[in-house]
């Protein structure tokens, strides 16, 4: 599903009476099958942007088009919107409330037009994708699970809907490195299967390794957008980029030839091999 954002603005009045311009004239597009990262400092409008894309907020100005149709138009089917776009918020485990894992994951499917057998298959698929044994977990209470398990159940709840677009708000915050890697690989697989992924994250390394495109926001405006690699290479010299970039910068100490093509650890290792061992081919 093609997302096109046209001149989007969102302004609101905060509790102390001040007018906040959360987003100003943002325009960009996200193509089907993209894996797009959204980055920027805290408070620059990232969460506002995804809430608008998901139709959870109404823009003050501008339009959001999904496959050419304005989602804020009165005739747009809201149910279709919910089924097409899935959102995983930060700390998604707070949304759990049902008596069994199965029922909680099924919640998103309440208004889908699936039969009960199909629903059960979807729930099984979603839970197994998140690493659970379906028969063991299905009747357990989601509230009695461990923190990590709760999070995985919550994400399964969003996956079960099989949305064409998945949005994540800082999904790997608070996860250990193993959890982080598992998660990113899972998301990557979903992307390979055709789901469009939009992810807000502060983790530069994860973004550099997995995303294909980046949108950079600052104070409500888009300041950069394009291929991930290009954006990081543009940064490598003066600001903090990925960890491999920082390492490369430390190693080259002014000579900087090492930095020319380094974004990820693979790049760094290849560049070092090239310099020190004369290896020519990038594996």
């Amino acid at each position: 599903m093609q997302i096109t954002i046209d001149n989007l603005s969102y302004t609101y009045t905060d509790p102390s009476g001040q007018t906040v311009h959360a987003l100003q004239s943002v325009s960009c597009s996200i193509n089907p099958g993209d894996f797009t990262g959204i980055i920027g400092r805290t408070g620059c409008g990232k969460t506002t942007l995804i809430l608008l894309i998901a139709g959870l907020l109404t823009p003050t100005k501008g339009h959001i088009f999904l496959d050419g149709r304005d989602i804020n138009d009165k005739s747009y089917d809201r149910n279709l919107l919910r089924q097409s776009i899935g959102v995983v918020f930060q700390y998604p485990e707070v949304q759990l409330f049902e008596t069994t894992v199965e029922k909680d994951v099924a919640f998103g499917l309440t208004y889908s037009r699936l039969g009960s057998k199909e629903k059960e298959d979807r729930i099984e698929w979603a839970l197994e994708t998140m690493g659970f044994d379906f028969e063991k977990i299905r009747k357990q209470s989601p509230l009695a699970l461990s923190g990590g398990e709760k999070r995985r159940v919550a994400i399964a709840g969003v996956l079960a809907v099989k949305p064409k677009i998945l949005i994540f708000d800082e999904p790997i915050a608070g996860l250990d490195p193993y959890g982080r890697q598992n998660f990113m690989e899972l998301v990557s697989r979903l992307n390979d299967d055709g789901t469009t992924i939009i992810m807000i994250s502060h983790n530069m390394d994860a973004l550099a390794e997995y995303t294909k495109r980046l949108i950079v926001l600052d104070e409500g405006k888009v300041i950069q957008s394009g291929k991930t690699r290009d954006i990081f290479l543009g940064w490598g010299r003066d600001t903090r980029g990925t960890e491999p970039q920082q390492i490369a910068s430390l190693i080259s100490k002014g000579k900087n030839t090492l930095l020319d093509d380094v974004v990820t650890y693979d790049d760094l290792i290849f560049a070092l091999k090239k310099q020190l061992l004369g290896v020519e081919q990038h594996e």
Binding site: F97, T99, S141, L143, A144
Partner: protein
Amino acid sequence: MKKMSYVKLSIITAVSIALCVVLPMAFHSIPNAGSIILPMHIPVLLCGLICGPFFGLLAGLAGPLLSNLFTGMPPAAFLPQMMIELAVYGLICGLMMKMIRTKKVFVDLYISLIVSIIIGRVVAGIAKALIFAPGNFTMAVWTTSYFVTGWPGIVIQLVLIPAVVFALMKAKLIPERY
């Protein structure tokens, strides 16, 4: 974890009072839901069930008062009657839970809820009549009208509140009763 400490009970009461202010706001943006589920009643009833009569009474008195101070709801005209009603809810719920031990949590909860709601509504109906329209006939009219119009909310509360209690027990945030 059979009994909660005095400190924990106090903080749970504080949180219940805060929810008396917050829940009506959350439901305010949802048209008509406020009149159906009577959002301020839920934290008070829960507080009474979980923390006992003293804390339940406190939540019932402080909840509507704080809500009026911060959001203007309920309007001051209705405040005394709301405070009385919720105070009775909290108190009776707490007392019932102390006195009834059927070995089945479900049954304990239901009996406590039903008794406290009935008594609370009768008392509130009488209070409302005394304040606004004292007179033998009017008292009967007020009390019955209050009962009759409130029943969808009561039914939802009877389903919702035990569900919350069980969820809290499952999440180990409050101790199991037996």
